[in-house]
């Protein structure tokens, strides 16, 4: 049939399965998430938006991984797909503590949920305006029967205290709080379930600089206290450098570079990473700017360029880049890059 021939509709979900390594809390292998585009007179799928297109990384227990990239590159979708929050995946593996997340039944998934939590981007729209703060934080705790009924109130007080909220805030509603306090409520809500792994989806982007520092310090303190693992999604590179141990740089749905924070910031290899880092404004009027300004904007993920996805904006584009998809290569131990420039 004609559908078979349309290259836009072919989903390549082959991957080499990984085996569980206990030092990693999360192993993501070639994860893909496509969203169908409906069109035509009789609506049918005419293509896919390849929001996450082959993301592979491992996350050690108790560490923080930063995920950076421009808006629309699929950072948030990657975070949500890992938590199984946006329907079924399209391909790949997500091993959480060695367990494939997408193989669980809904009952098993429910038991797994407290272990993996998310802090959403916008503290103004992610809190129900009709629930008092105590209920927002405590609802899931009660639902999952995490603490006995008689200890419930003390437990909520304890969590709120950890997150820098006072216990008399419990009966107030979200609109009575400032942005920084609301973000604290979001953090308290996630931590109340005693999670092992938290996806922080741009937790400080909506906040002022002085409040940002408070929230970042809070997240770091809580990580030490509860041995948490964070996946920190942000477009603010300076924040990511400060908080994370490893960094993944995303472009158009795939990781282009991945490694230790120190390695990546000291020695960025991929041309996109270089351009991204050179665009960070430095608060020093005398700082020299060797800025690589990228031309144009990010191509549409529904119709990504052939070969290397970055070749349309790359200053060092070669012939091979336009045809062949580059492979992931390990340049230094733990420092991976996806670029033809590093072919032998």
């Amino acid at each position: 049939m004609s559908e078979e021939k349309n290259p836009n509709l072919v989903i390549d979900d082959t991957y080499e399965p990984v085996t569980y390594d206990p030092q990693y809390i999360l192993m993501v292998n070639n994860l893909k998430k496509y969203f169908p585009i409906k069109g035509g007179l009789i609506p049918h799928t005419v293509g896919y938006v390849k929001a996450v297109d082959g993301v592979t990384f491992n996350l050690k227990r108790g560490t923080t991984m930063g995920l950076v990239g421009e808006s629309g590159c699929g950072k948030t979708t990657a975070g949500r797909t890992i938590l199984r929050l946006s329907g079924e995946k399209t391909g790949g593996q997500v091993l959480f503590n060695g367990q494939e997340v997408y193989d669980l039944s809904s009952k098993e998934m429910r038991a797994m949920r407290p272990k993996m939590q998310i802090i959403f981007q916008d503290p103004f729209s992610s809190l129900s305006p009709r629930l008092p703060v105590g209920e927002i934080i405590g609802e899931a705790v009660r639902e999952h029967n995490l603490v006995p009924k008689e200890e419930f109130n003390d437990y909520i007080d304890q969590i709120m205290d950890d997150c820098g909220l006072q216990s008399f805030h419990k009966d107030r509603y979200p609109h009575e709080f400032s942005g920084g306090q609301r973000q604290r409520i979001c953090i308290a809500r996630a931590l109340a379930l005693n999670p092992e792994f938290v996806v922080c989806d741009e937790p400080v982007s909506a906040l002022d600089v002085s409040i940002q520092a408070q929230i970042i310090n809070l997240l770091e303190d809580l990580q030490q206290k509860h041995n948490l693992t964070y996946l920190f999604i942000s477009h603010d590179l300076s924040v990511v450098e400060h908080i994370s141990d490893t960094v993944g740089v995303m472009y158009l749905g795939s990781l282009v570079e991945y490694g230790e924070t120190v390695d990546i910031f000291r020695n960025p290899l991929h041309p996109y990473t270089k351009a991204l880092f050179s665009a960070i404004p430095i608060p020093d009027p005398d700082a020299k700017m060797n800025r690589i300004v990228l031309e144009g904007s990010i191509p549409s993920p529904a119709n990504p360029p052939k070969g290397c996805k970055f070749h349309t904006r790359c200053a060092m584009c070669k012939e091979i880049c336009k045809e062949v998809v580059p492979e992931q290569r390990e340049i230094e131990p733990g420092h991976y890059v996806v670029c033809h420039l590093f072919d032998q």
Binding site: F277, I280, P281, I282, P283, V293
Partner: protein, 382 residues
């Protein structure tokens, strides 16, 4: 009397009383504004320094809300020299945007009123006090002599009109003497090319939703530049954009400023962007200027504890610290401002004198001013 049950709570009766009083105050201002045929002498003044494009002189902008009076801008004095960029930094709610809206006379009236002070705008051969200028005069100034680049390129454009029509509207209102339709279109396309839109003929016919965020911001900039304004107010023009697109837009603004020799008032909360763009920096906190000086003064010799805290709380790429400094507490309630230094409750460098009234401006050098008691003994005589 159930005046206050808890902090921030107002009874309906109390709220009604406040709004009645507010109406009395705002009616006086509105009556003053609504007069017809105001003679030019009333708003004609002299610039203190003819090298300045705009001078803010002890500006007070208040909002009369039903919960009380918000002193959004409370005594702000600074100058924007011709051909220079002035960066205004501060947290949200500190009055940076309200200052610029006062200059444009775009405040939400009747609640928002300029209660005192002057904004002197240099028109070349004469000078107007914007605070006293009537609406019909303001209409000729807005978009023509002073124009604004808004924060959200998504909402600043009208979704139901084509890009070309929206830019042409600005030209036809101010600059269209002796232009026919074709010339106007040519000028619009020239503007689109100037802001670096490659496919300018195509974009001319497009609707805003067909463009990406960076492209929309370019269109908004093209609109602001349409009449070669003397002053451009850029209100967080890159906050909603990615770093790579931000770099493109900042480059563009820098080049354009040199091309048409106008002044830019650059409002942002990103210190990195300010360092890159600004010649002079104004740091605002809770409606007042706490520190002002050249970019070099502010970034290399920050004096006010708030400026120092702000710099320390921003992580910088390449500088690793174990723990970020965070300014404790939060901004005081704008309705009940304390009568001592507004920053005292969050300040870790307080001295005894800080309990006194709000500190006055101390001159540290010819360009560097700070409002803090810690520098009173370093004061230089004028």
């Amino acid at each position: 009397m159930a005046k206050k049950k808890s902090e921030g709570y107002l009874s309906a009766k109390e709220s009604r009383r406040i709004s009645r009083e507010n109406r009395k105050i705002t009616n006086v201002f509105e009556k003053q504004r609504k007069r017809k045929n105001v003679p030019e002498e009333e708003y004609l003044t002299q610039m203190h320094d003819p090298k300045n494009a705009v001078e803010f002189d002890d500006l007070h902008t208040y909002f009369y809300t039903d919960a009380g009076t918000v002193k959004a801008v409370d005594g702000v004095t600074y100058e924007v020299p011709i051909g220079k960029t002035v960066g205004v930094v501060g947290e949200s709610g500190c009055g940076k945007s309200v200052t610029s809206l006062s200059l444009m006379q775009l405040l939400q009236r009747p609640q928002g009123q300029i209660t005192s002070g002057a904004i002197r705008l240099n028109l070349g051969d004469k000078c107007y006090d914007v605070t006293k200028a009537p609406d019909d005069v303001m209409q000729k100034i807005r978009g023509n002599i002073v124009s604004m680049i808004f924060q959200e390129p998504m909402t600043a454009l009208n979704p139901v009109f084509r890009i070309g029509a929206q830019i042409e509207e600005v030209i036809s209102l101010h600059d269209a003497t002796g232009m026919n339709e074709e010339q106007m279109k040519a000028r619009t396309i020239e503007l689109l090319e100037m802001v670096g839109i490659a496919n300018s003929e195509g974009v001319y016919k497009m609707y805003p939703h067909e463009l990406s965020g960076g492209m929309r911001q370019r269109v908004v900039i093209a609109m602001a530049l349409a009449c070669n304004p003397r002053v451009i107010i850029a209100d967080e023009p890159t906050t909603a954009l990615d770093v790579t697109i931000q770099a493109q837009i900042l480059d563009l603004l820098r080049n354009l400023k040199d091309k048409i020799n106008s002044s830019i008032m650059f409002i942002t909360h990103d210190l990195g962007v300010i360092a890159e763009m600004a010649d002079y920096v104004v740091v605002m906190y809770a409606g007042r200027i706490v520190e002002k000086g050249t970019a070099d003064d502010i970034f290399h010799h920050p004096a006010h504890p708030y400026t120092i805290g702000l710099m320390a709380s921003k992580p910088v790429v390449g500088k690793q610290v174990d723990k970020l400094y965070s300014i404790p507490g939060k901004v005081p309630n704008p309705i009940n401002m304390p009568d001592y230094c507004y920053f005292k409750d969050r300040c870790e460098m307080c001295v005894e004198k800080c309990n006194g009234e709000y500190p006055c401006e101390v001159k540290l050098s010819d360009t560097h001013y700070v409002s803090c008691y810690r520098y009173y003994d370093q004061r230089k005589e004028d």
